[in-house]
Symmetry: C2
Subunit: 346 residues, 2 copies
């Protein structure tokens, strides 16, 4: 591929992922990050595009650069170990960019789990963690099972509330697999993500009842008015998002929700994340585990389908297929954003 | 309260929880359990009734007794440690009844987390684990944060499948609190639980589209025909239930799903569970944590409500209120079930 944008099919022009990657590295090294840290950050952003998580892609770069200028993000920030016990790590990101802190934390949790059987690694004072599926997948590719959750700013309504009062509380779970690779589930606890609502709003689409509230907290079926996503299954999605704040922001000593609800216009409160990693060797059948995952995959794919259902998909299957396409055809990035990136790259 | 049933309001007669507890203890000591183990089992079953989880109450006792007769459950079974590393425990329940094995496992995980910061305790070869919220709450009452997940027989449809192909994959999360007590979230990954569908079926109620399939895998809006619950949020609920099987049954070396899908009429395959426990002292702000939970509770209760919403509820709040009522008024158990219990008690 060249870095000349391909014509897009009804969306933004398609760009060469390698070119985008180089652009991000250049921007962050200019901001002061080491070449290795800038590459780590670019890896996560480009993976997000390749797997269809465009909202966690280069669209975040101008915002990250702005946080670097305001001091909210330290491009040179490095993870430090604040407290450690045999099963746990409390890591301070010291305002490092989310992907840089989270990759370092994941690698520490993996190394720890290899000797201790498992590890609960808590990361505090990072910025936006990005697509948390990336970190769970990284652990699974290293042969371990992982669960990742994080705190975040309130953008979703708590069940019954008319205002943004919870993050969309994502959870990512990954397990190592055989020849087909790891299984990765990566989901928000809202019905529709904020990004999905914005995509639908761009073409003024209708949305089903129960997906979102408008700015006044009234139910709406128009995507462009739906600015407050609603939780998956009412009390279930909102309960999960609430407990994830308790297990990350609050347990790490850096609560996000209570101070932000009290003072919505206050300073950025960063983000915390909990990475739970387990070594299959500590449990029942480490040699058989990858084969069991393959057998599970096959059993699910072979299930009799409901009328009108063409294929039964496994968690992560659609993203994996998209990755093959996007590696070949490029990833969609609008012209205006490319111009911003070029300006930041100097 | 006496053990004379109170008149029920449109449901089963109300019984004295202390009487029910004594009855369960008597049944299990007759089956061979120690008095202490029988009391542990009765505690969980009666707590289930008190908190509205009637499907995990004494209705299970005749089934447990039948499993004891067939050898699938060992009333004398005791937990053994099969493998241990600093952060992990692999525990074999040796066919002990779920509540007996799970309480013992929770207590071991809590003790371990107090010295190691956290613990991943895997329990395999137990029978039906019961209401997993009970174990998460037990850890939170001991001052620790806990997540509990488990494997189980397929009763829910995988997203897009027309047959029962997943358990309703429950998850329970609890954190210690201040004067108001711990916060407990305890939820299935189906939209409506199997038990809830059966309750609605009993009065031939209508159910919303998307809640369940009939025995032929066709959508239905009639509760009595809805025998296959559907997952919460389609791929999200079904992805969670799938990953919980991977993290429990498969990681423990006792897969449930693949063998049961291949041979639905085969032998009972028991159940596995993963109890993840963290000591707040290992992380950021152990002294402040209980206060932070109280502040979170207050901030959520005070949120502006959507039109028509009378009260915003926290996870576990409804169960707690019900417990106060049921301790006073009794718990509903039908006459026929009481007769079965009396016969088992001899």
């Amino acid at each position: 591929m060249t870095d000349t944008p391909s014509p897009a099919k009804g969306g933004a022009p398609l760009r060469d992922p390698a070119h985008l990657h180089a652009l991000v590295v250049r921007i962050f090294t200019r901001l002061g990050s080491s070449a290795a840290d800038a590459a780590t950050l670019a890896d996560m952003l480009i993976w997000s595009h390749l797997t269809g998580r465009d909202g966690h892609g280069v669209v975040r770069v101008p915002w990250y650069a702005q946080m670097a200028r305001s001091g909210e993000l330290d491009p040179k920030g490095q993870l430090t170990v604040e407290r450690e016990l045999p099963a746990t790590l409390l890591l301070d990101a010291n305002r490092a960019a989310g992907p840089i802190a989270m990759v370092a934390a994941t690698d520490r949790a993996v190394a720890r789990a290899r000797t201790q059987g498992g590890c609960f690694a808590m990361v505090r004072r990072t910025t936006h963690t990005g697509a948390i599926g990336y970190y769970a997948l990284r652990a699974a590719e290293a042969g371990l099972a992982a669960l990742v959750i994080c705190s975040g700013k309130p953008i979703m309504a708590y069940h019954g509330a008319k205002v943004a009062s919870l993050p969309t509380g994502p959870i990512a779970i990954a397990v190592p697999g055989g020849p087909s690779g790891p299984l990765l589930l990566d989901m928000a606890t809202s019905i529709a993500s904020f990004g999905r609502l914005r995509q639908l709003a761009a073409r003024d689409a209708e949305i089903p009842e129960g997906w979102a509230l408008d700015k006044d907290g009234q139910p709406t079926t128009r995507a462009r008015d739906g600015v407050i996503p609603l939780p998956l299954g009412g009390p279930k999605g909102s309960g999960l998002a609430l407990m994830f704040e308790a297990l990350t922001g609050m347990l790490s000593g850096a609560p996000v929700l209570v101070p932000t609800l009290a003072d919505p216009d206050g300073p950025g409160r960063g983000s915390s994340a909990l990475i739970m990693v387990m070594d299959p060797a500590a449990f029942g059948a480490p040699e058989a585990f990858a084969d069991e995952v393959e057998a599970l995959r096959a059993a699910i794919k072979a299930l009799p389908r409901q009328d009108g259902v063409e294929d039964i998909l496994l968690p992560g299957e659609r993203s994996k297929a998209l990755m093959a396409t996007r590696l070949r055809e490029g990833v969609p990035v609008p012209d205006a954003l490319m111009a911003d990136l070029a300006a930041l790259a100097g």
